[in-house]
């Protein structure tokens, strides 16, 4: 894949958005191609603004939390290596320009990933494979901030339920209660049916955690702005938990449906693998859906902002801002919608797993 022609023709916004759509992906393969591409780009036009890198940087994870202009907060780096644990601040990398001599290896930030390097500053693949990055990155921190916010909100709501026992909800409580009721009456009850109460905690946690992360992702200033739910690793964790919950709560009818489906026996060699793939593919779809939706929203907003820098003209700003405003409002809806869809499908999968037949 060669995107240089798209990036070079900096006049057509459409092809830019298209190009961005095609290129967004945090996977290594793309990153490698991207790296080559960046080099080309650098050779061609040293000072040129590269929207792809800018956007990918913004939606990707980072060891720094960029606040404003040149200011960014360095985050703690925790590395588990075969020789021991390393702990230092990411400030030592100076935004990837410098290598850091740790206790066991020398480390360098390459594409915002920590790699072990040899004496010459080249990436040492053998050594790198022994280094596990457990840093508190921007996404980890953003996720924890969202979690803390949720904890604060719902604990205070819970305490007001205790204080105002039997009374009508008030304040934050009355804001939150309809949403809880929505999760219960629109998501859990119709999809799971009898015994839905058991799954209320996980459904509510999933819903509010995803929603809060989505919303914080839309805030461009410091505590927000991280693309947590648009990170495929995060959605992977969420959907893996969903898969575990679904399969561990499954009853015998669910397993019978997979291993002894109501088809002629000669179809079993086809049916059983298909059903087994279904077990995996449903949470897989959850993972991709959330990741792609949120990432796409962020990319569109960032692309629209990038237009200003591509055209190098402040005159584009009003148009960009107008479109961004529109997109942000849309994303506000998408933030809720994706949290809702994720939770609803979780409830649906749980529902199929615990359904009583006959």
């Amino acid at each position: 894949m060669n995107f240089s022609h798209i990036l070079n023709s900096k006049k057509t916004a459409l092809s830019l958005i298209l190009g961005v759509f095609l290129t967004f992906c945090a996977c290594n393969t793309f990153a490698i191609q991207h790296e080559e591409h960046v080099k080309e780009e650098k050779n061609a036009e040293e000072e040129a603004f590269n929207p792809t890198t800018a956007i990918l940087e913004h939606i990707g994870d980072s060891h720094y939390w960029h606040v404003l202009g040149e200011t960014s907060i360095p985050l703690p780096v925790i590395l588990f290596t075969d020789k021991g644990t390393e702990f230092f601040s990411s400030a030592v990398f100076h935004h990837g320009t410098e290598a850091h001599q740790g206790q066991f290896y020398t480390y360098k930030l390459v594409e915002d990933k920590i790699k072990a390097v040899d004496a010459n500053g080249e990436v040492d693949k053998e050594a790198s494979s022994h280094v596990y990055d457990f840093s508190i990155t921007k996404n980890v921190l953003a996720m924890w901030i969202a979690g803390t916010l949720i904890l604060i909100i719902f604990m205070s709501v819970a305490s007001s339920y205790k204080k105002r026992e039997g009374k009508a909800p008030k304040g934050l409580q009355s804001l939150v209660e309809p949403i809880i009721m929505f999760v219960r009456d629109e998501i859990a009850r119709p999809n799971i049916g009898r015994g839905y109460q058991r799954y209320m905690p996980i459904l509510l946690t999933i819903f509010f955690f995803i929603w809060m992360n989505n919303l914080l992702g839309l805030v461009p200033l410091f505590p927000g702005g991280a693309n947590v739910t648009g990170n495929i690793m995060f959605t992977f964790v969420m959907s893996a938990i969903v898969m575990l919950v679904v399969n561990f709560s499954a009853n015998k009818y669910y397993w019978k449906h997979i291993f002894l489906p109501d088809v002629p026996v000669w179809l079993y060699p086809i049916m059983i693998p298909v059903e087994l793939i279904g077990v995996i593919s449903r949470p897989f779809a959850l993972m991709i859906r959330l990741y792609a939706n949120i990432s796409a929203g962020h990319i569109i907003v960032l692309s629209l902002i990038s237009l200003i820098f591509i055209f190098k003209s402040i005159a584009v700003a009003p148009v960009s801002i107008l479109f961004v405003l529109f997109m942000d409002v849309l994303e506000l809806l998408v933030a809720f919608l994706q949290a809702f869809i994720f939770t609803m499908l979780t409830a649906l999968f749980i529902g199929t797993a615990v359904e009583d037949h006959h």
Binding site: N139, V140, R184, P201, L204, I241
Partner: protein, 169 residues
């Protein structure tokens, strides 16, 4: 393919672990300190609202029942009153009727007694008058006789007549 997954675990395992820890911690904490009390409170309140509604419905029914009962009682009372009034009227008429009867009878009886008394008194008076007349007659006769017998000749003559009459018999 190898290149695709190269460094995947090294770079992302940490994030996966942190995310999983964050989510599970959140699930446990929220489950214990938020969802449980909130859901309990909501269920409890819903139940109490339902109870209250049911009770209100029951109270309404009770009220309707009471009103019905009252109405029935009132109706019954009215009928009873009418009955009593009717009876009283009947009694009154009866009493008047009886009184009149009695009065008539009594009057008749008294009239009878009076008549008898009058008759008695009349008889007594008549007897008295007769006696007086008899006494007067006797007196008169005596006086007449005395006058007549003042003359001796006449006495002799009468005696002679009487003797003659006795001899004849």
């Amino acid at each position: 393919m190898e290149q695709l997954f190269e460094g995947l675990l090294n770079d992302h395992l940490g994030f996966v672990v942190w995310a999983a820890v964050a989510f599970i911690l959140l699930l446990i904490l929220l489950g214990k300190f938020a969802w449980k009390p909130i859901m309990q409170a909501i269920t409890e309140r819903e139940r109490s609202i339902e109870d209250a509604l049911l009770k209100a419905e029951a109270a309404k029914e009770e009220m309707a029942r009471l009103t019905d009962e009252n109405e029935a009682l009132l109706k019954k009372a009215r009928i009873e009153r009418d009955l009593i009034l009717h009876e009283a009227r009947k009694v009154k008429e009866q009493m008047i009727h009886d009184a009149r009867d009695l009065a008539q009878k009594e009057g008749a009886r008294m009239l009878e007694i009076a008549r008898i008394e009058i008759n008695n008194q009349k008889a007594i008076a008549l007897a008295d008058v007769k006696n007086q007349v008899a006494a007067l007659s006797l007196e008169i006769a005596e006086k007449v006789l005395r006058k007549q017998f003042e003359d001796q000749a006449k006495q002799d003559e009468l005696i002679a007549d009487l003797l003659k009459e006795v001899k004849l018999k």
